[in-house]
Amino acid sequence: MSANAGSSPSAANSATANSAAANTAAANTAAANTSAASIAAASYASASAGAASASHGNSGGSAGSVGAGPGSGSMGKGNQSARLQESGLARIARGEKVAAIVHESVWDDEPVLEVENFSLWYGEKQALHDISLPVPKGKVTSMIGPSGCGKSTLLRCVNRMNDLIGTVRIAGSMKLNGDPIYDRSVDVIELRKRMGMVFQKPNPFPMSIFENVVYPLRIDGERNRQTLAEVCEKSLRGAALWDEVKDRLNSSALELSGGQQQRLCIARAIASEPEVLLLDEPCSALDPIATGKVEDLISDLRGDYSILIVTHNMQQASRISDYTAFMYLGRLVEYGPTAEIFTRPRLSETNDYITGRFG
């Protein structure tokens, strides 16, 4: 924040009190985690340096936009579109088809999930545009992008959650370990059993904590109490919830706090030991300590599980993920190894977003 303000000489003349407040809010969102504030500043500094060097050749105006970013922020539309006139994001916003930048190194690992030319419509409205990306096996892949850009939609497509919405129409294909996901012959239920999912909003079932965690096993017809109890404890420990609920496993899950409920959902998602974990902002309601624990869990699971995680927390993405995809308005903008995306993204727009200079 202070770094931002310091590096924007143009801020002083045009900024009103209102826009200053908005900026503060935007910066806070970008660095939601106060303990990570310094990291944010540091990564911003290095990233902007990298971005500057990387984007100089691309467009002459982008260097100026880097400098003006914090000042103009999310204010006046005209101002912003003028600034981005030549950028890919502006062209996306105008509805042009812009090819995504996918780093070659993402193909180094064997992909567990391949998304090919995937588009999706909610009724008339297209929410995903021609997305192609491989999700490497045994790695953590994070998806970032502004709100409403289709991250959740894409994630829900992986386990065909969108089948439940009557108006959804899709084009393109997805493959899990080479098997098509969107195929008539696919047993959707078996497919979903191979994946665990944590939703953006915690959705514990109105049953006891214990029953919530072992629900996937119950579905499978598991009756052995011993097994159930073991799985329950293991999953709850994994989700960093065990110590808080071990004495009240039989009380209703609805009596838990929002953050506890979210961790309960994580425990439920890992209870059946799925191949792929789909996490939609799993830490949005968690305090730093619980977040740390969940991140530890993700790190532990790396290798055995393939994890696809949506997050608005740049630091979290950079900390835990091996690969990062940046999406905007239903399109994939840039996808590559996290280190590259955060240090030397090929697009200045990516850089703008991860440094918080883009609203």
């Binding site: 386990n159 959650m161 439940l164 009557g166 195929d183 008539r184 012959s185 696919v186 239920i189 078996e190 979903r192 059993k193 994946m195 665990g196 999912m197 939703f199 909003k201 959705n203 514990p204 079932f205 109105p206 049953m207 006891s208 029953e211 919530n212 629900y215 996937p216 119950r218 579905i219 499978d220 039989n250 209703s252 959902c265 439920r268 998602a269 059946s272």
Partner: protein, 829 residues
């Protein structure tokens, strides 16, 4: 906004300031509090008012009220409970219409004025067989001044027949009938027999026989007098004994002529306290016997009749299956056999009487000898006649037996069984009848005699008294006892006196049973339908139309459902089940067409199934066309199935043997329940749908994400959460169904059902029986009763009961809902 503009625009300023208080009042919500609170208050007070009215009127019905007696100007008297007091205006024209002493009294009351306020009271006078009325009004001017009293020993008796009896306690009477000695009876019969036989004896031989017969008469007479003397000896010398002679006259013991033919002794208590004490002592036993007798009549004889009816139905069934008739012949054969048996018994009795005579003649009474000597020839002649008389029936019986033997095997067996059962049944029921008669005779010995208001004596046999009490001598505890006793009778007993007295147990039972059967039918059905609509069906015009239709169903007048139930359930389905297609007025298919249809049906269903399977497994592209084809095939198959079912030429009905009496083809508790289930279906569907849609989608998604299938999700996640709503729907449906009357009148509710739908006979559950229903009972009491004044309080009481019953059912359902909720929260579903 600058100050100057505000100042320049003063009118607007003023308007704004005036508007302020109202705005702020609205903003703080005060008027809305009053409005909303007021609406609630009005609604609640109307409901509470109705409840209080029903409670007040309904709970007082059974309270024993004192009995008042007044004298009227004409010399008449009124005695009874005062049930109502009314004020009215006595006017000149009214008085001019009166005549006789009443007119004078009224004129005196008016005293020359144009009109005057006066009061009249309604006496429940009872004694319908004397007064031809149950109630009578008396205006205050009609009552002779100072004549109003409460007779200490005024008794109110509730009778099994004729309603209530009001009168002052007169006497309590116990009768003792003289029982002739067996010899006396035998010899009397013999004398009668001889009187018919002697004219046939040749004149020469007759005189000694006539003399002997005269001697025999004398002998019988002495026997009788001895017996009477012995009989009178049991009467102690108390003055309370009276004797009744053959001609019915009653004499005091000391006035009896030595020759008088006394048939009965009566012990009479005239002192009220003693009489009442005796009554209290005797009544319970009499009632006990009365109940036993009723039980015998109802259950034992019913059992015998059922056995006979069953055997008869077996014969009828055999007749249908063998296509031959036998029942008429069997009945003739039975009657012939009964006749023969009676003749045989008569002969045996005759012989026994002769034995008695011979015994008498052994004693040194030579005058009887000629009779004994002539016995053989007399008997021989009689025997010849007897055999003559038997010849024809014997031949007839033999012929019929031979015919019976020629019948097809199963019919013959069934016929023989029927004859056997009938014979056994006749014996059993005549022995039961004898028991009943002896009980009746025993009960008839006790009698309470009351003095009606006008002094007439009313004799009430104790067996006719349900309950009697001295209304003006009751203490509070006794009154409470009677009050509770009446409630108990009301809740557990059967109705009497065209439903205006007695209990309503059959109606309670019928209401509860019908409501439960209805719930059992409507809840699963409605929940499944709602599940389909909400969980499986994709939205679309068809689903909308279905949903709107269901909602409209709730607005259809209930009598329409009754008509539908009668036409569809009773006259179509019921008649079909009774006697097959022909009985229901349906066309049957020719046999070959039927089997062809069956084949087509199987083919269609198989095709639809295979297509459906392939669509489901994804082999066939999920095209709209194929699923439409499958749906169409299913529809055609279902229609064909129905047509095949109802056009089946090989189905002759389950109760063909009872035709033309319908079994299921008429109103009954099953059809009534199903009709009401249809009526309440929208309630269940709508509330279930609502509760299903109240389950958040995120729950379903969470479950699917765990790999659960559709049904697993519904069962484990959706249904448990929707269960309270479903139960609420059930409660609403039950309340609606239990209170419904109009459709029931068409499909099985009756004024008086002789048997409950569940009892100890046969298959125990009789869904085809008609039943009593509290709602219909209210209607019947209120609008169909002869004695509407007496029925009015019962209407309130029954209403109170119905409300209480519905409330109880609801409370039970709410309790169940609470339990389910608790269980589901722990995820044990």
């Amino acid at each position: 906004m600058s100050h100057s503009t505000a100042a320049a625009n003063t009118p607007r300023e003023r308007r704004r300031s005036r508007a302020r208080p109202g705005v702020s009042l609205l903003a703080s919500g005060e008027p809305m509090v009053w409005l909303t609170g007021g609406a609630l208050t009005v609604a609640v007070s109307m409901i509470v008012g109705l409840m209080l009215l029903v409670l007040y009127n309904g709970s007082g019905t059974f309270w024993p009220v004192p009995i008042t007696r007044v004298e009227l100007p004409g010399g008449g008297r009124l005695m009874g409970e005062i049930t109502r007091v009314e004020r009215y205006r006595l006017t000149k024209p009214l008085v001019e219409n009166l005549s006789g002493p009443v007119a004078d009294a009224a004129a005196a009351k008016l005293a020359g004025r144009d009109s005057v306020d006066t009061e009249r009271r309604l006496f429940r006078v009872g004694n319908f067989e004397l007064t031809q009325t149950h109630f009578q009004w008396a205006s205050d001017y009609e009552v002779a001044p100072g004549s109003e009293i409460r007779p200490e020993w005024a008794i109110l008796a509730e009778r099994v027949e004729w309603g209530r009896c009001v009168g002052e306690l007169g006497q309590f009477v116990v009768r003792y009938r003289r029982v002739p000695s067996p010899d006396e009876e035998d010899l009397t019969s013999l004398v009668q027999w001889l009187e018919t036989r002697l004219p046939a004896v040749p004149d020469a031989e007759r005189p000694p026989l006539e003399a002997a017969l005269a001697r025999l008469r004398e002998l019988v007479e002495t026997r009788r007098r001895d017996n009477i003397r012995e009989f009178l000896a049991q009467a102690t010398s108390e003055a309370s004994w009276r004797a009744v002679l053959e001609d019915g006259s009653e004499v005091a013991l000391n006035e009896i002529q030595p020759q008088a033919a006394v048939v009965e002794l009566r012990q009479v208590w005239t002192e009220p306290a003693a009489a009442w004490a005796k009554y209290l002592e005797a009544h319970p036993q009499v009632r006990e016997r009365f109940q036993q007798r009723k039980h015998l009549e109802r259950h034992e004889i019913g059992r015998v009749n059922n056995a006979i009816e069953e055997a008869r139905l077996a014969v009828r069934g055999a007749e249908i299956s063998t296509r031959s008739a036998s029942l008429d012949k069997l009945e003739q054969l039975r009657q012939t056999r009964v006749q023969l048996d009676a003749q045989e018994a008569e002969w045996a009795a005759l012989l026994a009487r002769w034995e008695v005579l011979k015994r008498e003649a052994k004693r040194p009474d030579e005058r009887l000898r000629p009779l004994v000597d002539a016995a053989e020839s007399l008997l021989r002649a009689a025997r010849a006649e007897w055999e003559q008389a038997r010849q024809e029936p014997l031949a007839a019986a033999a012929a019929m037996e031979a015919e019976l033997a020629k019948l097809p095997e199963p019919l013959r067996d069934a016929g023989n069984r029927l004859l056997e059962v009938q014979q056994r049944g006749d014996e059993e029921s005549s022995s039961i009848q004898r028991t009943i008669q002896s009980m009746n005779a025993e009960n008839d010995r006790f009698e309470l005699r009351l003095m009606a208001a006008d002094g007439a004596a009313v004799a009430v046999p104790l067996s006719n008294i349900v309950r009697a009490y001295p209304a003006n001598r009751l203490e509070t505890a006794a009154a409470v006892g009677i009050y509770l006793e009446r409630w108990w009778e009301y809740l557990t007993d059967e109705p009497r006196e065209a439903n205006s007295e007695g209990g309503v147990f059959p109606a309670i039972f019928g209401t509860v049973a019908m409501t439960l059967i209805m719930s059992l039918a409507v809840v699963p059905f409605g929940v499944l339908a709602a599940l389909y609509l909400r969980e499986y069906a994709r939205g679309g015009p068809i689903v909308s139309v279905v949903r709107i239709s269901i909602n409209n169903l709730a607005g259809v007048p209930s009598i329409v459902f009754g008509v539908f139930g009668l036409g569809f359930f009773c006259y179509l389905v019921g008649a079909f089940l009774d006697g097959g297609a022909a009985n229901a007025g349906l066309q049957t298919w020719p046999s070959y067409a039927w089997y062809g249809g069956l084949f087509v049906l199987v083919a269609l269903a198989l095709a639809a199934f295979v297509i459906g399977l392939r669509i489901a497994s994804g082999e066939r592209a999920r095209s709209l066309m194929w699923s439409r084809v499958a749906l169409g095939l299913w529809l055609v198959a279902t229609a064909l199935l129905v047509a095949l079912l109802f056009g089946n030429p090989h189905f002759g009905g389950f109760f063909a043997d009872r035709l033309p009496n319908p079994t299921l083809g008429k109103g009954g508790i099953l059809w009534a329940s199903l009709t009401l289930a249809l009526l309440t279906l929208p309630v269940v569907i709508v509330s279930t749908e609502e509760s299903l849609s109240a389950v958040p989608n995120s729950m379903r998604e969470g479950s699917y994400a765990c790999g659960a299938g559709k049904w697993q999700t519904i069962r484990r996640i959706v249904l448990p959460q929707a269960m309270p709503g479903i139960m609420t729907g059930m409660i609403l449906a039950m309340a609606r169904g239990a209170g419904e009357v109009a459709p029931l009148m068409l499909v099985g509710a009756v004024k008086l059902a002789p048997e409950l739908p569940i009892d100890s006979s046969g298959p125990f559950v009789h869904p085809e029986r008609s039943f009593m229903h509290l709602g219909f009972h209210i209607y019947d009491l209120g609008f169909q009763s002869q004695n509407s004044e007496a029925a009015k309080p019962m209407v309130f009481t029954t209403t109170l009961l119905l409300i209480a019953l519905v409330a109880t059912l609801n409370v039970a359902a709410v309790w169940l809902r609470g339990r389910l909720r608790k269980r589901f929260r722990l995820g044990q579903f």
